[in-house]
């Protein structure tokens, strides 16, 4: 039956004219019959009979309405009326409507954008099959400041054998550099992950093409195979399905491409190609397989059925404490080795989560402020409309109907605002993804989808409903008094006034919080930018010239490589415009490739202090001068510091102080030490300190200077080369010529990371700049909205008190007094807001701590500055309405009443 009913209703709505006609016909028939009957019974004239019949029938219109009621379509018809009424009424109030739409668009837009970010990176489940049960294992040595030391082959075997809570453990190793020689013969550096055969099945990943690896790809006897990551396949092969079966040369080994893996977060690092262990001779070498401290692999695991992360954590911790006890040589006690087990979904977003939630919170605050402002606008408009509402109620419109009218109006506004907001979010998506990519490997998953649109819609609707229940409808004030000329005033009731004022106070407080956050981040940025990098030179260009092919083999070719690098250096140095060219293992301000434990001759370590650890870099004779690293004591390297001559080192200042304290380090001797050393081409021989140079911030501007030991480039094994070129003019202009001349000397040489020192520095600061930009724009947005809010409320208060002000003035108050009265009113709101905001900011800023550098969360300069700015602009915003109040002409004001 329901479908017939529905059909009738649809007909009643769509064919309203037909239905009305039928209704009219039926009524006509009824009246005619009644008239005929009356005429027959009482002998009335036809006209009189018809009149009486009509009277008996009553108002035809009225009954028609009740028919709509009976039909159940009235609600819909009225809603349509309400919408068109809302649109008409808003058209008449364009200023109001556009203010509301804009404010809501900003609020909803910012929230949709942030939710898009949050949803794409944090909330959505991982694309991996059963991704919720994947865990990431991290071995760290906090006391030695190593946050991830990876796992060695014996360790992996122990955890595999011991852990019952983990159903499978997969290995990923990205520590070995790889080059791929393309079809054009030019080498390209690749990000290769050496994975165990079970990697993909443990990670729950599916191939989009071909096959993934399995247990038969493990071991030294397997054929070398590679699986492409989705992005690399798209980027390099344009998504060509014929790529399967093709071979590529990875470090001079011919490897067959067997498959392409689905898109998934690339964690812990971006990866172009996954290859099996056989492709990396290093991973198969005997030392790697047997030595517990030769750590190269990241571990991923799948939880066994019916176990939790906590259980796994407890079990791993039990196994690890046994290992630490049984193998003291591999786990230095003072370094406090430990193993973390965390859900992969969380590990992936370790850096992102806090930042994104923070931004989401800030966005919610902006929406809060926006809604408060719109509520205020609505409230003010509501006063003007209170009479309209009362009249309508008196004329028979039900309260519910009026409320519905308001809901429709606000819905119209909020939906338009929401639509604009979503469009804004859509437009900003690219920027958003770029921003997210700085923090989360899941940035590629950020997109505007149905869920995001749904949340945008829900936010709009929620805002509309919240706003619709603020103005009062009829009720406590009688129509008569409201209509009487004397009662014609437009003020809010006491309760409403208080509510309105609390909204303003809340706005200012929220503003204070946001601006404090913005201020702290901007100050962080400024501090970072003024950090002394330790590189005191202009016009310095750095170029990375890595070795290519299998590193172990390349390192053995030290004499050839040394000659090559020196030839390149000398050729570049001879170019016009180049002042000096030098070569070292790594460019300044970049991470070194190797770091080892170290001992100083005759110095005994206090107990419980971890062994000193330093980054190893090599430098030629001109390196320090070219990079502008000052020589503080002793000498730099000389051309006589070559293979076969006395072993010498130069220390950076902070490491020299750490090792030798106040002692003069020049002339002291140090030596590399530790288990790992025997697998490297470096010896533990004693080396004499010949000089001290200034510190450089190689691990980022926000990190302390790295303890660093420099060795002569010509005296040591070569792992890598980096050219440091100082030019007389802007190095950007010489860049092309320098690159060309490198290729003249070594046509197949990889050339990477061609950057000036300023550019490196800028890359370092860029993520912070984005942080600051985001929070600052939120803060500014909130600031503008709140200031418009306070000015609007005061202006409204002034205009509704014109008569009062008129009376005051006619009783002798002068313009100044009136002005300060209004200013005082605003000042109280400001003061309340600022006090509240100050307290909230003190609390909220602590959440920012990890993002700050050089400022404390309670930085008085920021807090004070923000409060001052807010107060100043707030007073300025109050000034306009105050000045208007002061200009009130008492005569005019009273007459108007």
């Amino acid at each position: 039956m329901w479908y017939r009913r529905l059909a009738r209703r649809v007909r009643a709505l769509l064919h309203r004219a037909d239905v009305e006609r039928e209704l009219a016909e039926e009524f006509r028939f009824h009246i005619e019959q009644e008239a005929a009957e009356l005429a027959r019974l009482h002998g009335l004239s036809p006209d009189e009979a018809r009149r009486r019949a009509l009277v008996a029938f009553g108002g035809v219109e009225k009954w028609r309405e009740s028919h709509h009621d009976a039909r159940g379509t009235r609600w819909l018809e009225e809603s349509w009326h309400d919408v068109s009424f809302a649109v008409r009424s808003l058209r008449r109030n364009r200023g109001f409507a556009s203010a509301v739409v804009l404010t809501l668009a900003l609020g909803i837009g910012v929230n949709t954008a942030m939710f898009t970010l949050l949803h794409g990176t944090l909330l959505r489940p991982l694309p991996n099959h059963d991704g919720e049960r994947l865990v990431y294992l991290r071995q760290s040595a906090p006391a030695a400041k190593h946050d991830n030391v990876l796992f060695s082959v014996p360790e992996i075997a122990d955890y595999r054998a011991g852990a019952k809570t983990l159903s499978a453990i997969a290995e990923y190793s990205g520590a070995v550099p790889f080059t791929l020689v393309g079809s054009d013969g030019q080498p390209v550096r690749l990000r290769v992950g050496i994975v165990s055969g079970n990697y993909f099945s443990v990670m729950g990943l599916e191939p989009v093409l071909g096959r993934l690896t399995s247990a038969r790809d493990d071991g030294a006897a397997a054929a070398p195979v590679a699986v492409l990551s989705y992005d690399y396949w798209m980027e390099r092969f344009g998504g060509d399905p014929k790529v399967i079966g093709r071979t590529v040369r990875l470090n001079d080994m011919v490897v067959t491409i067997v498959g392409v893996v689905q898109r998934a977060p690339l964690y812990p690092r971006p990866t172009d190609i996954y290859a099996n262990t056989v492709t990396s001779p290093h991973h198969l070498s005997a030392t790697m397989v047997t030595d517990r401290s030769h750590r190269m692999s990241e571990l991923f695991a799948h939880l066994a059925p019916n176990t939790t992360v906590e259980q796994a954590r407890a079990e791993i911790s039990r196994i690890s404490s046994n290992l630490f006890r049984d193998h003291p040589e591999a786990y230095e006690k003072a370094a406090h080795y430990e193993i973390g087990v965390s859900q992969l979904r969380q590990a992936v977003n370790e850096r992102a989560a806090r930042m994104f939630w923070l931004l989401m919170g800030a966005a919610a605050f902006v929406l809060l402020i926006a809604c408060a402002n719109v509520a205020n606008l609505t409230l003010m408009r509501g006063v003007g409309r209170e009479r309209e509402m009362l009249v309508r109620a008196a004329l028979g419109a039900g309260t519910a109907r009026l409320r519905r009218l308001l809901v429709m109006e606000n819905l119209t506004l909020a939906l338009i605002g929401g639509a604009i907001g979503v469009l804004v979010a859509f437009a900003g998506l690219k920027l958003l993804v770029a921003f997210a990519a700085q923090f989360s490997p899941r940035a590629y998953e950020v997109r505007v989808d149905a869920v995001v649109l749904g949340v945008g819609l829900a936010t709009s609707i929620a805002a509309a409903f919240a706003l619709s229940f603020i103005p009062r409808i009829g009720g406590d004030r009688a129509l008569a008094t409201s209509l009487a000329p004397v009662g014609r005033r437009s003020t809010l009731g006491r309760g409403r006034q208080r509510f309105q004022r609390s909204l303003v106070v809340a706005q200012i407080a929220v503003c204070m919080v946001l601006l404090t956050g913005a201020g702290l981040l901007v100050r962080t940025l400024a501090k970072l930018q003024s950090v002394d990098t330790g590189v005191h030179a202009e016009h310095v260009l750095t170029i990375d010239l890595p070795l290519q092919g299998d590193l172990l083999r390349e390192v053995m070719k030290q004499p050839e490589n040394l000659a090559k690098y020196e030839r390149i250096r000398d050729r570049v140095a001879a170019l016009p415009g180049v002042e000096t060219a030098s070569i070292g293992s790594t460019a300044p301000l970049r991470n070194s490739m190797a770091d080892f434990d170290l001992k100083a001759e005759g110095r005994i370590l206090p107990p419980n202090r971890p062994t000193p650890h330093a980054a190893m870099r090599t430098a030629d004779t001109g390196y320090f001068a070219a990079a502008g690293i000052p020589l503080l004591a002793g000498r730099g390297f000389q051309s006589t510091d070559r293979r076969g001559s006395g072993l010498v080192v130069v220390l950076n200042q902070s490491f020299a102080r750490q090792l030798f304290g106040d002692l003069n380090p020049v002339g002291q001797r140090i030596a590399w030490t530790g288990q790992v050393l025997k697998y490297t081409p470096f010896t533990g021989d004693w080396r004499t300190v010949v000089g001290i140079v200034g510190d450089t911030r190689d691990r980022g501007l926000d990190n302390d200077p790295t303890p660093t030991v420099y060795l002569p480039f010509a005296q040591e094994m070569i792992l890598n080369g980096a050219l440091v070129v100082r030019t007389s003019a802007d190095p950007a202009e010489l860049q092309a010529m320098i690159v060309r001349s490198i290729h003249d000397v070594a046509p197949r040489q990889l050339i990477e990371k061609v950057r000036t020192i300023d550019q490196i520095r800028d890359e370092n600061v860029a993520p912070r700049r984005l942080n600051a930009l985001f929070i600052t724009s939120f803060g500014t947005l909130a600031f503008v909205i709140a200031m418009v809010g306070i000015a609007g409320v005061l202006a409204f208060s002034v205009s509704s008190r014109t008569a009062e002000i008129g009376i005051r003035m006619s009783l002798g108050a002068d313009a100044r007094r009136v002005r300060s009265m209004v200013l005082g009113e605003g000042g109280v709101l400001l003061a309340f807001g600022l006090t509240l905001g100050f307290a909230a900011a003190l609390f909220a800023a602590r959440l920012l701590r990890s993002l700050l550098f050089g400022v404390t969360p309670h930085d008085p300069v920021t807090l004070g500055g923000v409060a001052l700015v807010l107060a100043a602009v707030g007073v300025a915003a109050c000034w306009l309405p105050a000045a208007r109040a002061a200009r009130v002409d008492p005569a005019v004001a009273l007459r108007a009443e």
């Binding site: 039956m1 017939r4 009913r5 009738r8 209703r9 039928e22 016909e25 039926e26 009524f27 028939f29 009824h30 005619e32 019959q33 009644e34 005929a36 009957e37 008996a56 029938f57 009553g58 009225k62 009954w63 309405e65 009740s66 028919h67 009621d69 009976a70 039909r71 159940g72």
Partner: protein
């Protein structure tokens, strides 16, 4: 619109259904028959009758078709549906038990 309690509205529906058990009728005929059957004690206002008819039609108790009245004019004729018959039987029982209940109350000494 006149306020009607659910009870009275239910009663009107019952009366309409009852008249229609006697055969299909148009709106005016229904009001006239109620008047006759109640011996002029009940005069159903048109303002209540037509909404009731539409409500019953909407509920699927009666069905309307355009036909020719006894007077030879085009009129909307209402007819009871199977659901309507069932509904009538149910309503009649409810009404009877309601009457009995009221009687019990009133006759209490």
């Amino acid at each position: 619109m006149t306020q009607q309690t659910d009870l009275l509205q239910g009663t009107l529906d019952l009366l309409v259904l009852k008249t229609l058990t006697l055969g299909p009728l148009h709106g005016w005929g229904i009001s006239k028959r109620i008047r006759q059957l109640s011996q002029d004690a009940l005069d159903v206002g048109q303002g209540s009758l037509y909404p009731a008819l539409y409500r019953l039609e909407d509920a699927g108790c009666i069905e309307a078709t355009w036909g020719i009245s006894a007077e030879g004019k085009r009129a909307k004729i209402y007819e009871l549906t199977a659901l309507g018959k069932k509904q009538f039987a149910k309503s009649q029982n409810q009404w009877q038990s309601f009457l009995t209940a009221v009687e019990h109350v009133l006759s209490a000494t």
